[in-house]
């Protein structure tokens, strides 16, 4: 096997391993689905992985980095593995893949983008005046929903209420 082909094969295995690493705050989504993995670089003796944090203050970052490192080491045991978060460009919610959006939806969190949040980040203070939003309920699909708060249980989620099926639900915040 020539060198280039070998490096490519390792890179593929590393991406597959990263696709098995999940965000502990959003268990159904892998970090590749969420667009957290920015790059994988494989050389003769090393693998370097760069990750983008969804929110700088996300407390799951250390866990994600550690889990990613363990997974990549197992996938490329003969190489030195370096995994780090970088800030060279901001993560945006547009990086979430179609598969990631589907997983969020099934989990009961409305995904950003198509069928979910619009691009607007101007979120009304719903507690002072409940406002209809264009966020679709992940349970019944209704758009008759109100925003309860721009903030939620994690930095990346907002909280909502569905007027149709009367369920409270969360949505992934749009960013970017």
């Amino acid at each position: 096997m020539n060198k280039a082909v070998e490096l490519e094969a390792v890179e593929e295995v590393v991406w597959e391993a990263l696709a098995e690493v999940h965000d502990p705050e959003i268990p159904p989504c892998s970090i590749t689905d969420l667009g957290i993995v920015e790059s994988v670089r494989v050389s003769g003796d090393a693998v370097e992985v760069e990750l983008l944090p969804t929110f700088a203050g996300c407390p799951a970052l250390d866990v994600i980095r550690y889990d990613a490192e363990v997974a990549v080491r197992a996938a490329a045991p003969e190489r030195e593995v370096r995994v780090r978060f970088v800030y060279s460009k901001p993560w945006t919610s547009g990086r979430i893949t179609k598969e990631g959006r589907r997983a969020l939806q099934e989990y009961g969190v409305t995904p950003p983008g198509e069928g979910g949040h619009s691009g607007s980040v101007v979120i009304p203070l719903a507690t002072l005046e409940r406002t209809t939003s264009d966020v679709q309920c992940p349970f019944c699909g209704s758009e008759e929903t109100v925003l309860e708060s721009a903030f939620g249980p994690t930095l990346c989620r907002s909280t909502h209420f569905c007027r149709s099926c009367r369920n409270p639900f969360e949505a992934f915040k749009p960013k970017g």
Partner: protein, 292 residues
């Protein structure tokens, strides 16, 4: 003094503002007037502290600071913190808290816009990450601003009291940094603090006028304490209690003279800083080098 030390001053001014105000915001956790605001202030605090961490890390990784981000945040003596006094003031009431958040986040937006164009690539990148999260803080502040400005008399009164007593020290967010000229000449700080202050005052004046709240710019809050000027002198009480350092010229609000609460950028603090520092760093000082 080597040129790099001045970049550190800029990073510390930004990071310490975020850390100290983040600490104040976190004091609402469990105590805010309602649950959604508990979440809001806890989340904003978490963001601000994370931004401070990014800036401390940048200082460490670019060789400007030997110590890591935890040691930078929690392992310095009080006079080494370069935050503005506005950030260390206690939360007082809800009106003051919201007024301060509004003033801080609108001012922060002006300086971040400038720093996103910094010639120092590492700083510009971190600032662009921060800006996407600060948008939410600004939205939160502006929503409250319009609700309280248009709302019932008591809320409007308490909010305007908060604005009036915070505005003087808010201007000191733009107190020139020691050796700022070099940073401006190199484009690290694309515009001088005086120019950023003029931009902010222009925007602030318009926002306050549109809500008929611009009277807060013409008279100092009756409840505000008098603070020494940078020379250590107490300002003479004047008849009209004008906001220190603020004047009206040619239909514009402009900065003239000193700053209320000057000295933060040189490590001088108000009487409110040390009690905050003692609580914030207590665990770290009891267990130096602990990891968590």
């Amino acid at each position: 003094m080597p040129e790099e030390d001045h970049r550190l001053t800029l990073l510390l001014a930004l990071a310490d503002d975020e850390l100290i105000l983040g600490h104040r915001h976190s004091e609402w956790t469990g105590w805010a007037p309602h649950m959604e605001e508990d979440l809001a202030f806890s989340s904003i605090a978490q963001d601000e502290m994370a931004h401070a961490r990014l800036l401390y890390r940048l200082a460490h990784e670019s060789g400007l600071a030997e110590r890591d981000e935890d040691a930078m945040a929690l392992g310095r003596e009080p006079q080494k913190y370069l935050n503005a006094w506005l950030c260390e003031r206690p939360n007082r009431d809800w009106g003051f808290t919201l007024a301060r958040q509004f003033l801080y986040d609108t001012a922060d937006a002006v300086r971040l816009e400038a720093l996103a164009e910094s010639s120092w690539q590492g700083l510009a990148e971190v600032v662009r990450v921060m800006q996407l999260e600060e948008k939410y803080h600004l939205d939160h502040a502006r929503q409250w601003f319009s609700k309280l400005a248009d709302g019932p008399a008591e809320g409007r009164q308490r909010f305007s009291d908060g604005l009036a007593s915070a505005i003087g020290e808010a201007m000191a967010l733009f107190e020139p940094l020691p050796h700022e000229d070099g940073l401006v000449a190199e484009g690290v700080l694309p515009r001088a603090n005086e120019q950023l202050l003029a931009e902010w005052l222009g925007r602030l004046g318009e926002e306050l006028e549109s809500a008929s709240l611009d009277f807060v710019l013409t008279r100092h809050g009756a409840t505000a304490e008098m603070v020494p000027t940078s020379s250590g002198d107490m300002p003479a009480p004047s008849e009209d209690l004008t906001v220190p350092g603020l004047s009206r010229r040619d239909d514009r609000w402009v900065h003239e003279g000193g700053f209320a609460g000057a000295g933060g950028r040189r490590g001088r603090h108000s009487e409110d800083f040390v009690p905050l520092w003692e609580e914030m760093t207590g665990l770290y000082r009891a267990h130096p080098g602990a990891r968590w």
